[in-house]
Assembly symmetry: C2
Homo-oligomer: 240 residues x 2
């Protein structure tokens, strides 16, 4: 009863890539985010040992990469294509951030394959290539230096695609049992008795010591096991 994974319907298209190392880095970036389909339009060198080295454990993505002569060939069958650009384009159909584009791409990926298209390292996509895309994506950055490495740009875009799927966008939190209210209150009482016993808390001038300590432990959201440890410590220093 697994739902179809929309990331499987996203192809990454690299157009006229100059450095094979960047193709490998892109494959690795894709695989870390769960994407697998790579199209290469007229790469300068491919296959290449540098690509393989940079792909690390994502060589399978490289091996299944499809070589194309034209961008049209790489976009065949797609229902939506997003072209990445480092420059502001006056005639962009719609200019979006990766964060805004990702849900749209994934929505369309329910209906058919979609593509994210990256141009050559030095020149990016040409106007003609961008005009084959319905969406133009710009990664917000330092206006004085906005030239992301190709592999890094692929990583950001694939990361946003994954983050746009709520069930994949979280990290598993270790499942420790949280402390219950009464356990925490008993700890506070134990702590107060101990601080009185060792003379740190002056009952005639308590100031706001217990409030400060409560605030600290409240922020920490104590776990059951931690309360046991803390009470063990209190016992060890002589607090009954």
């Amino acid at each position: 009863m697994n739902k179809p994974d929309p990331l499987q319907n996203v192809r990454v298209v690299l157009v006229c890539t100059s450095h094979p190392g960047n193709i490998g880095a892109a494959a690795r970036a894709m695989k870390t985010m769960g994407l697998e389909t790579l199209y290469l339009v007229r790469p300068r060198r491919f296959p290449d040992s540098e690509a393989t080295a940079m792909a690390s454990a994502a060589v399978d993505v490289l091996e299944r990469a499809r070589l194309c002569d034209t961008l049209d060939e790489a976009l065949e069958g797609t229902v939506l294509a997003a072209g990445l650009t480092a420059r502001r384009r006056d005639l962009a159909p719609r200019l979006l951030t990766p964060r805004a584009a990702a849900p749209e791409l994934l929505g369309a990926a329910q209906a058919g394959p979609v593509a994210v298209v990256f141009g050559n390292e030095a020149n990016g996509l040409t106007s003609e290539e961008l005009q084959r895309c319905q969406i133009v994506v710009h990664i917000p950055g330092n206006p004085r230096y906005n030239s992301l490495n190709l592999g890094a740009a692929v990583q950001v875009m694939c990361y946003e695609l994954r983050m746009a799927i709520p069930e994949l966008a979280c990290v598993e939190v270790p499942a420790f049992e949280p402390a219950r209210h009464e356990d925490v209150e008993q700890f506070y009482a134990h702590l107060e008795r101990t601080l009185l016993a060792v003379g740190f808390l002056d009952p005639r001038q308590p100031k706001r010591l217990m409030q400060r300590l409560r605030r600290l432990f409240a922020r920490a959201r104590l776990e059951k096991e931690e309360v046991n440890i803390l009470r063990g410590i209190l016992k060890a220093v002589g607090g009954e």
Copy 2:
């Protein structure tokens, strides 16, 4: 009257980096997102020509990088540190995504320097190193292959830091003048007359042709100049 830039208060700390190329890639990733402060704890080789090559136009970040013997030295003065990990850590103080961690880091950066800490390529940060961080960050990814390249991980984290600053997280949309309601309505009227004149629209069986066309152009959110172009076309095909 510029507000202080919180990104200037974020230092990137690379611990025991093996490959100098990754130090350069990290510097480039930082600069593209507006970060400038790099600390290197016991890098295997630095300075190095590979680092310089991979830094591209971010060599200034490398040149100002500070070399440290220990992580404590690199964290001196910081008020909050986030350590990146590719593994789920049972004893993580708090495990967050980059997206959840970024606003917290920037909030703390108002009070003092903060750090994002990246471990060695093969082994990541040790438990001892992670325990010096108040936040542990995990980049959500493919559970079967979650090994981001170091430079790519730095790119994702720096990107999220920039995206957490609302005024930096958008792309400038080209300022074309939108068409006004009455201009668009006059275009529709002109279009309808033309379609009638050329015999494409049958007045006895109009079906929903005009509705379909309105729907199309509504989605496009016509610009003033585009209305002029479209009406020019209608005129050229003989529609008055």
